[in-house]
Amino acid sequence: MLTLFRNLFSPPRHMILLVAAAWVGLTLAEKRAERYGISKDELNNITFYGLLAFIIGGRLSFVLQNISTFLKSPSGIISINPDIFDPIGATAVALIFMLVYGQRRNLSLWHTLDALTPFFAILFIGIGLSHLAAGTSFGKETTLPWGIDLWNATRHPTQIYETLASLLIFGLLWFQKQNPRPGILFLTFAALTAASHLFITAFRGDSAFICNSLNQNQVIAWIILAASFLALEFRFKQTKNAG
């Protein structure tokens, strides 16, 4: 089953999973958009322009980081290689662009983020599945019975842990009956996602370390978790005062 899945979506076809996740996520987000005071069109526009900014920003960020290389081969800037891409730069550019777009269209930041939460949640499920297909974000070696054979060893199926955690987070947020105060849904999603990454990353076998021993991704997840808690509390206070 796993081999069939990995053969079917082996790179570069693993990108199909991301595109499918983005499509499903956006469809689900559209269904609930009006609950947060955002029209379907506005949600579609902000997502479309955000994705466009993500693609262009990722390429530009990569080019700027390797500017001497691209000065020697300028045609490479518009080449079709998807590997000429910086995901961190892409995310930063997309977020800035979406923020500016939202402000210009007078969209409430927190309402927009809440409306986009199902999109983000499904995207994380897609990321987990694409990691599984590509064999990236692989786990440490294990003797546990649910270990998977990957890269010449039996390993923790961290990509499956990641997918299940994202699925659980999506379920928790999607099926909750209460309509929380603006921003709480998104910040809860951010906190839960950061917490799940903080936990699961410990089983990953491809981690980079900082300060000689601390897992870099865990430290980043902890910082995001702390920031989410701070923002949550800030939102609780703000909405209480406003109410």
């Binding site: 390797n66 290389t69 081969s73 490479g76 601390l214």
Partner: protein
């Protein structure tokens, strides 16, 4: 939930998170790279020995100290053909800095007769190796052609590029990273 209950919960979760990070900290002196060999970034590149059409033998592990591009290709594969001129250009430019190309023809799924014409057509002067039994194709778990593996001077795969054609700019960034 009251504010004080929430803050207590945040603090407890953050303490537990920090404890989890320290519990999983790598022991001092732990190797920075995975010692197992596998066709994936971060692993030691799986070793192989193959011959050129002229009968010259190349062993990957004997090239330690050089940055190596292992490029798996076939004559019938259009992106493989398209990226060959760029690979040749980069080989000419970086070979003096210790850059080696091992262009492994997946002969098991290709016609060996076509190879000399292919080499002449693109004026290739880096080693072309024949994977007649498909051992390297299987060892590198190749599912798409071309598949390229950039290996640093320590024999660790720094980057895997599946599909193509690779542009000069992409080759340059990956080669320079492998040469570091």
């Amino acid at each position: 939930m009251t504010q004080s209950q929430r803050i207590t919960l945040y603090i407890l979760v953050l303490i537990a998170g920090a404890a989890w990070i320290f519990l999983n900290a790598a022991p001092a002196g732990a190797p920075a790279v995975v010692n197992t060999s596998a066709p994936q970034a971060g692993f030691t590149a799986p070793d192989f020995t193959l011959k050129t059409p002229q009968g010259e033998t190349y062993t990957l592990s004997e090239l330690k100290g050089n940055a190596v591009l292992v490029n798996l290709w076939a004559t019938w594969c259009p992106p493989c053909r398209a990226e060959m001129p760029a690979i040749q250009k980069m080989y000419d430019e970086y070979k003096d800095q210790g850059f080696v190309v091992l262009a492994v023809n997946s002969t098991v799924q290709d016609s060996a007769i076509e190879i000399p014409t292919f080499i002449a057509e693109y004026s290739l002067n880096f080693p072309i190796l024949l994977d007649e039994l498909g051992d390297v194709t299987r060892m590198y778990q190749v599912r798409s052609l071309p598949s390229s593996y950039f290996i640093n001077r320590l024999g660790i795969i720094t980057e895997v590029v599946i599909g193509g054609p690779m542009s000069e700019a992409l080759l340059r960034t990956r080669i320079e990273e492998a040469l570091k």
